[in-house]
Amino acid sequence: MTMPRTLAFCYLSLLWQRETITLSDLLRFVEEGHIPYINAFQHFPEEMKLYGRDKGIFAIESWPTYEDIYKKVIEIAKFLDLPRFPDITEDSYLHPNILCMKYLMEVNLPDEMNDLTCQVVKMTGIGEVDFLTFDPIAKMAKTVKYDVQAVAVIVVVLKLLFLLDDNLEWTLSNIAEKYNEKNKEDKPWFDFRKWYQVMKKSIDEKKQKWEEARAKYLWKSEKPLYHSSIDRAVVYKRREMVVSLQKQFSALVDSAPTVEKKSPSSFQFNWTEGDSARTCFHGHGLQGILKKKGQSLTTKNSLYWLSTQKFCRSYCKHVTTYEESNFSLSYQFIINLFSFLLRIKTSSLHEEVSLIEKILFKRKYGKTKKKSRSRKGRKY
């Protein structure tokens, strides 16, 4: 049993309980220090002496990654021979409808997009109980990456609405801007460009702070770990040296008011109406990008491009790759934004988006066997 495995085990129990916490949240709490992980042994009682092989287990030098813990979750569940987990229904937090809503709020997108995300979820069937519930003994035992999937759905919806080809989204923005200027009293139309500006600024700030925090992170603890009694003296001396040097330099640093350690929160961003500095887009309307078609509305944009043209079927563990330069800047921005939010690799998110599209379009194609050139419309 190692620290990563312990963490995976904790996640399994949270999943069993259907707690309102996703794997990315859990890992973020670890990184922020709310969950002891890096120097967990500091909290052990005095009597527990750690040395020798304990060092390999407890002297962690890396933060847990999503992919790694995810793999371990499946391994452990299989190993423990766990039965099918309690159902994840539409009421659970982990259901894509709910998670989509959560993430839409977090990235400051209009609430109206929720309808679209629900539609996509329905069409792809990823909201089904059987699909979502974790069953270790099933042939293809996989637990859904709830958070990544929800975010992928949002990306797909954005692509449906704005195409994200570095062109249409800006044209639509111009239209929205014109309308908003003329009709200042009405509910504003959602302006992609404005949203982009606000989000880019916020995310860049957050990222910068995150990088700085990472660079300053102190990995070693007060009580150093050592292999054997011979090492002990050396290790302790080094620690002493480091502490004395740190003391000297901390005197030079201005005793700036230390930022209060924030209590753990599921949300990394908070947007409120009426804040002039940071526009909140929750209430904005999608009228500018939807148009009437008979009884229902459909998107003005009728085009779409697939994130992956061909899926890989060889032995590599990935089904697709993500080469940034192949994609539009808007798409890259969206992917980077969400990957940072979940602290996952951009390629993982891209893969998930591709998989959703695979299901979405295959199904659509499966229904209409005849080559009817029906355009996909979001029907309300």
């Binding site: 660079a215 330099f249 030079l252 491009w305 992956t308 043209q309 061909k310 890989c312 079927r313 790759t321």
Partner: protein, 421 residues
């Protein structure tokens, strides 16, 4: 971006084919390969976040230093110290030097820092390893000098005077420029500091950049005697370690002063003993040749042979020209004995070293003039039957035909080897 319904049809048919992930236009992309290439440096293991932290931290420190943000630099430095506890021993061993360089820089400029702080820091850093001890001591001394605290600096250095010579050699040459500019700055500031430096130079050791700058300054102020004294002291004082550069500086200075030939010869004689392959040796030979004393002429021959003993000078055409000319001169002056004496120790290995048939072909191809000079020497020393001479004399070259003829004549006349024996 075609109408997506076409895409649908296309993607269905293409999905059936088994193809690896390829993106059009830019060719194949293998992200997993990139990751593996990145791990080669770390011996196959993925870089740990600890290592990422320290390298990111280092980046931030360097950025802060460039922007003169001392506060921020100190803040990051605080976190950087943990690299001393890195489980990677390479990084751990390289750490003290980096920390010293960055830390001393910060402490030098930070408004809140004082000489006290610097001293404490230096003392702490010195306790990490012997090599660092001396390097740091020297830089510490420099810092103190800059602040006019000569006594402390002196005390610092004289305590270590016995260790300094051997260990400082590589160190000084490496930081030459830094010290040059540092010492330059010091001189610009005050005469007093230079007097302090004079005291420093009198301590036995290797102070090349200091001496150079100091002498330059003295010359600038017109104090030739002072300069000469410093240089002579530096070169000849027995307490100082044997240092070829000292003699070179002295020689160059005397040359500038247009000192008498005798003096120059005596300086270079010592250099000859230390570094017989130095490029100044050819100048030395010229001086000896022009002299009137016979021992000097003999020494001149010795010096030439000495230079050509070294692999680095085998293609030096000047050296060979001189030798060829000088051999003729010597033999015409009836000093066969000298030549024989020099040749005695060399006849076993010079032929294959300089005059093999391989060299004959290679030299002729590369530089015909060089080959001719060497042929002359070979002919004189080894006789006209030697491979080198024969090869060159057989060569038919329009330009050098006359020269080759001359060579043949000289060899006939002057050859040391008796064809009869």
């Amino acid at each position: 971006m075609s109408d997506f319904s076409e895409e649908l049809i296309r993607s269905k048919t293409e999905d059936d084919k088994e193809e690896s992930c390829v993106f059009s236009g830019t060719g194949m992309s293998f992200p997993w390969l990139q990751k593996h290439i990145g791990t080669v440096e770390t011996g196959g293991k993925k870089e740990k976040d600890f290592a990422q932290t320290t390298s990111a931290c280092l980046g931030f420190i360097q950025e802060a230093l460039l922007k003169h943000q001392w506060q921020q630099a100190a803040d990051y430095m605080h976190s950087y110290f943990q690299i001393l506890e890195d489980s990677d021993s390479h990084k751990r061993q390289a750490a003290p030097e980096i920390i010293w360089k960055l830390g001393s820089e910060i402490l030098f400029y930070h408004p809140k820092s004082s000489v006290e702080t610097f001293n404490t820091f230096a003392d702490r850093m010195k306790n990490i390893g012997v090599m660092n001890y001396l390097k740091i001591s020297l830089q510490h001394a420099l810092y103190l000098l800059h602040h006019g605290m000569l006594e402390d600096a002196n005390r610092n250095l004289s305590f270590h005077c016995t260790y300094i010579p051997h260990l400082l050699y590589p160190f000084i040459y490496e930081d030459d420029y830094a010290y040059n500019t540092a010492s330059q700055n010091m001189f610009d500031h005050s005469w007093k500091t230079s007097v302090n430096l004079r005291a420093l130079i009198q301590t036995p050791g290797v102070w090349d950049p200091f001496v150079k700058s100091y002498v330059e300054m003295l010359e600038f102020y017109g104090d030739q005697d002072g300069a000469r004294e410093v240089l002579t002291n530096y070169a000849y004082d027995e307490k100082f370690p044997s240092n070829p550069n000292a003699h070179i500086y002295l020689y160059n200075f005397l040359k500038r002063e247009k000192a008498p030939r005798e003096k120059l010869i005596s300086v270079l004689k010592i250099l000859y003993q230390i570094v017989p392959s130095h490029k100044l040796m050819l100048e030395f030979h010229r001086l000896l040749r022009k002299s009137e004393k016979e021992d000097h002429h003999k020494l001149g021959l010795e010096v030439l042979f000495g230079v050509l003993d070294f692999a680095g000078c085998t293609k030096n055409i000047t050296a060979w020209k001189y030798l060829a000319k000088y051999l003729r001169q010597t033999l015409m002056g009836n000093h066969l004995a000298w030549v024989q004496e020099e040749w005695k120790t060399r006849k076993n290995w010079w032929p294959s070293f300089h005059f093999s048939s391989f060299w004959a072909k290679s030299d002729w191809k590369e530089d015909k003039a060089l080959a001719c000079e060497k042929a002359l020497v070979a002919g004189i020393l080894l006789g006209k039957g030697c491979r080198y001479f024969r090869f060159i004399s057989k060569q038919d070259d329009q330009v050098l035909r006359k020269k080759i003829k001359q060579i043949k004549k000289s060899v006939k006349k002057h050859s040391v080897v008796n064809p009869g024996l």
